[in-house]
Amino acid sequence: MPLAAGSSRAREGRELASTAPYVELHCHSAYSFLDGVSLPVELAQRAGELGYEAIALTDHNSVSGSMELAVVAKEHGVRAIHGAEIDVAVDAGPSGPGRGGPATRHITLLVRDERGWRNLCRIITLAHAHTRGGSDPSPSQRRELGDPSVDLAAVLDHAEGLVCLTGCAGRSLIGRSLIGRSGGGPGALEERTARRLLDAFGPESLYVELQRPYARHDRARNRALEALARRLGVGCVATGDVHAHTPARAELQDAFVAIRHHTTLDASEPLRRGNHSHVMSAPRAMASRFPEHPEAVRETLRLAEQLSFDLTKDLGYRYPGAEDESASRRLAELCRMRLEERYGPGALPAPGVRGGQAIGRKAAGAAHAEAQARLEQELRVIDRLGLAGFFLLHHDMLELSREVALEVRGPDSVRALLAPGRGRGSSVSSLVCYLTGLSHIDPIASRLALGRFLHEDLRGLPDIDLDFPRDIREKLIPRVHERYGHDRAALVAAFPTFRARGAIRELGKVLGLPAGEIERLARGADRYGGAGMSSEHDIAAGREPVEDPGPHGPAEGGAPSERWRWLARLTEQAYGLPRHLSQHPGGMIVATRPLIDCCPVVPAAMEGRQMVQWDKDSCGDAGFLKIDLLGLGMLSAVERCVDEIARVHGERIDLSRIPFDDQDTFRAIRAADTVGVFQIESRAQMQSLLRTRPKNFEDLTIQVAIVRPGPIQGGAINPYIERRRRLREDPAYEIPYEHPALEPVLRETLGTIIFQDQVMQVAEAFAGFTPGEADGLRRAMSRKRSHEMLQRQRERFIEGAMQHAGADQGTAERVWTMVEGFAGFGFPKAHSAAFGLLAYQSTWLRVHYGPEFLCALLNEQPMGFYAPDSLVREAKNRSPSNRIAVLGLDVNASSVQCTVEDGGVRIGLGYIKDVATADVQALVAERLRGGPFRSLGELAARSGVRRRTLEQLAWSGACDGITTDEGTQMGTGTQMGTGTQMGTGRRAALWQLGLATPGETTSGGEATQLALPFELPGAPGLRPLGRWQRLIADYSTSGLTVGEHALEILRPRLTVPLLATSAQLPRLPTGYEVAVAGLVIARQRPGTAHGTMFLLFEDEFGTVNLIVPKAVYDRHRHLARAEPLLLARGRLERWQEGPQGNVWSMSEARTAHGQPEGEQIRPVVNVIVRELAALERYLSGGVEGAAGDGPVADSARVHHLPGSHDVAPADGEEQVQGSEVGSSMRAAVPPMQSFGGGRRR
């Protein structure tokens, strides 16, 4: 979004302001959610350019954009006036109430002073109080959102400090009878309403609002309203009802109206404004709109002068304990007592390691002295900053979470051994946090510096983030509301913004474009992208000749229609605008006074939760203390895992007491056997692990931080990897430092900047910054649009380096380049240590309790980098000693969730899609009660589940054990087979269930017939399900398969020269031309890669990393983004440290599959892609016909690979065509990871 503070246009605007004849007192921003298309910053900037002295933001029942406007308006020489347009409930009239609530009319409220702000917050809170009405059966269910509105009486009760304008032209509270009429004044009812407003607000604070939206009856209405104002003895004021800051956004406003009303542009004419006069105009232009009402124009200036409330001033917010005079003493007592427990004689070692050895007892005396000195230093800083109450509040929150954890876990659970939550972020560096339980990492042993978190020059409040398992967090948040009072605690809001895919879908729909084409386009778009959408739409419209048109070919020939062009334009414009109000993942505000005096509080989607209308930035600007109570999926997973270990093995694992120098664990990390573990499982991390080869916890702490935009852009990764390699080869290798002053602060990262706090440490050690200045530098680097600020920092840094460290200009500039390069996101070391510990713990569980860990991951989805199907595949592909058997769905063996069974993992029935959890629970309960089901008829009769559930069970293969091809009963077989015998009875089972299952449920909630356990007749001669069809059935019903991989089925039909498997690639020499086929399981196109896309292919043997250069990506972008089964041609890139191992030719490589035992240095293998194609085009019998046609014409060799299961179709088995392979996989493809989007942790 544009922002050009200090531009010449803005200066001209400020000069104009002195003579501007008009102030805009009625503006909507995008925070009116689908009734406004400009951000506050855009409105402020444009207002400055046009010469406005002030503007008022009056979003619908919301002040979500107010703080943002208050902050940015000053930068543009504009004064922010605050207010809101409120929906007031009225009698519905003959047409009845509107959707989601009573009929409403509008009034505009403007804030005159602090009292007015409090009253506005209370009115808005009341307006939203009923919007999540109704109780839900489950507290975790989302409550549907209704429309906000408030009774007039409530407004009148809160009139003090507010100015009331009588409302917009279309829906004014006092203008109802004027709508659609050519003349006449307000009716008796409206006049009575106006007089009630007058009584409450008084003549000095009530204005009749005149607007000129260029609708047909404007003049008549304004004349009538002016007459009413005369009768009431109040003034008129002109307003513009601005909804866009520039004419270029006017069309988007129309489209938003259609989205808001769930209709199309073609059908929404009566709902739209009819023209684009709602765009911000110059003050003189606005004045000229009201030639008959010059006084109303002048009144805008007089009124604006009175509205002097400044939102950036103190709102009176205080957090509990902020003014507690005993807080410092109490905090010091608590910490000193805990210090003796943690560092005194007999203290147990804390989690974490240094140099591969357990820490906590370093040298007891020295550690104690160091900790004591550090504690006193921290307490001094905390006391000076007046933050003791802040720490005690967090401690109180943690104690509350302990109570909740006990309730959730149960007193006897093995999980009870674990802390209720963990710290993350820079606060982990604080000894006070460690001693008060807010951190689990010993900052003394881990050598964590405090400066990033706390220093004497700190302005504002530091951040303490706490991670909790999901189930504990879910209970904790409502408990916080109870503890601090429902009126004094609320979540922080968040504003999901339009991103490419959502914008394409919503805007394409209102433009009336074909649903299929919209969806295709949306799926092909960068998930979080926005720029460059025009070309995407061109492609969809068949405009641009593309080299590879994708499996479908071009959408349409010829030029794109107007609608497609508008989709491109509107999508660009909508990108980044807030779509609706949502809640922050865990940020909470608590206060000593009712929060509704500071900011409106509205109900959240989940029962028992409420949130303020401000996001974290606005809360920060308001000085609110935000406590982050975050849910961390991996914490939940490891807790599940220790529970499962206790169930299966009877062992009680305390993860804080496991050995932290376990060599099996580090061996797995060095071999990148890390699928599923925390933080170090991604494609990039795994490749990095093979090069950095971590050997202890300190290495792991660095590893967690290394694949981040900061170190990547700062150019730290390659030097760090290279220096580690040199050190491994030659321990005497001397690390090169740009300057000796850098050695103390960059020693652990071998002269590179990897941690965020190192930026500050470099600034202090090299350029002589104070801690406060260094923190300022860090903040300047992390802020957007701070070029000028960063330039000032640069000058200060270089000058400081020359003076403080005696560096020459060249050295100072080179070090600045390192610092500046880090401007992207990076982890502080404390955060890396916290996450590194969980990475280690999860790897330890994976290594020593593989089935239990896999089971926990599958039960805690969605989380992590890999979809369940990929987790299952990887477990099955491990080396024989680590391989985990994964057993399929079975009505006679599966529980609701996945379970460990005979050393393997049984998939739970909860994985079946479109099935009610209650049904699955009932089925399992009945099996436990009455024994295994012996037939389909018995299953239908005893389980009592719905027909749809039974059908899904049958189609998923869960009934295979009680079904045969002929439909006869097999008893209680539970083991899933593989190959052609698996699932051949699914069609027969479905046929039989048609006889056995109850009829559909009637509207009265009863089945039309009971299911009876009679013996079912055999099914007719149905053709057995083919291998491919079984795979698709698995994916479509459960999102995963424990059977054959797609490539295992397809490979025999692939006729591609130089085709290599994932198992063969590591054995081939670098530079080799290869073709690889695979199922895409991850896509990544990070901003740091300059247009390169990274794909992760999976075949039947493992995974393959593909690097798709920008030029290739541009040529094949639709395939790269959306096609699940691909064939890539390119050049092999192989890197291996030390002995190169056996690098074979292709013919030799064919015989090698699987991984050798024991630790060895695995090579890093990538395929640099030259060409991508849909795999289906290369299948014999596929869309391209038999070998010899089209792309396979040059097929010189057909590789019959060992172990590729070249199975001929069984008699009667259907051989699917290539086109069906592609379309069926596209329809049923399992969830895929996108790095950009990131599946939630």
Binding site: R216, R219, G274, N275, S277, R563
Partner: protein, 84 residues
């Protein structure tokens, strides 16, 4: 039987002064009652952009005329009259 649109705009001869119509099809404009703007169908190949005036002619009739601002359509930039 052929269908005929009701109140279909008919081309008009309009003389303007200071941006306002002062004569419509030879009839002088006595007074200006309303003026409004219609901008619609911008997403189609036939966008609509019209400035309307509701007038009282010298013969006491209400007149509604509009100026087509799209620069396209049947009569680019033309003036039309519709029944009020």
């Amino acid at each position: 039987m052929a269908a005929r649109a009701l109140n279909h705009p008919r081309p008009a001869r309009v003389r303007r002064s200071a941006g306002h119509p002062v004569e419509v099809n030879g009839e002088a404009v006595e007074s200006l009652r309303e003026s409004w703007l219609v901008e619609d169908r911008w997403w189609t190949a036939a966008p609509l952009r019209r400035r309307y005036w509701e007038l009282v002619g010298e013969r006491g009739r209400n007149l509604v005329v509009f100026h087509d601002l799209t620069g396209g359509g049947d009569a680019p930039g033309g003036w039309f009259v519709q029944s009020p």
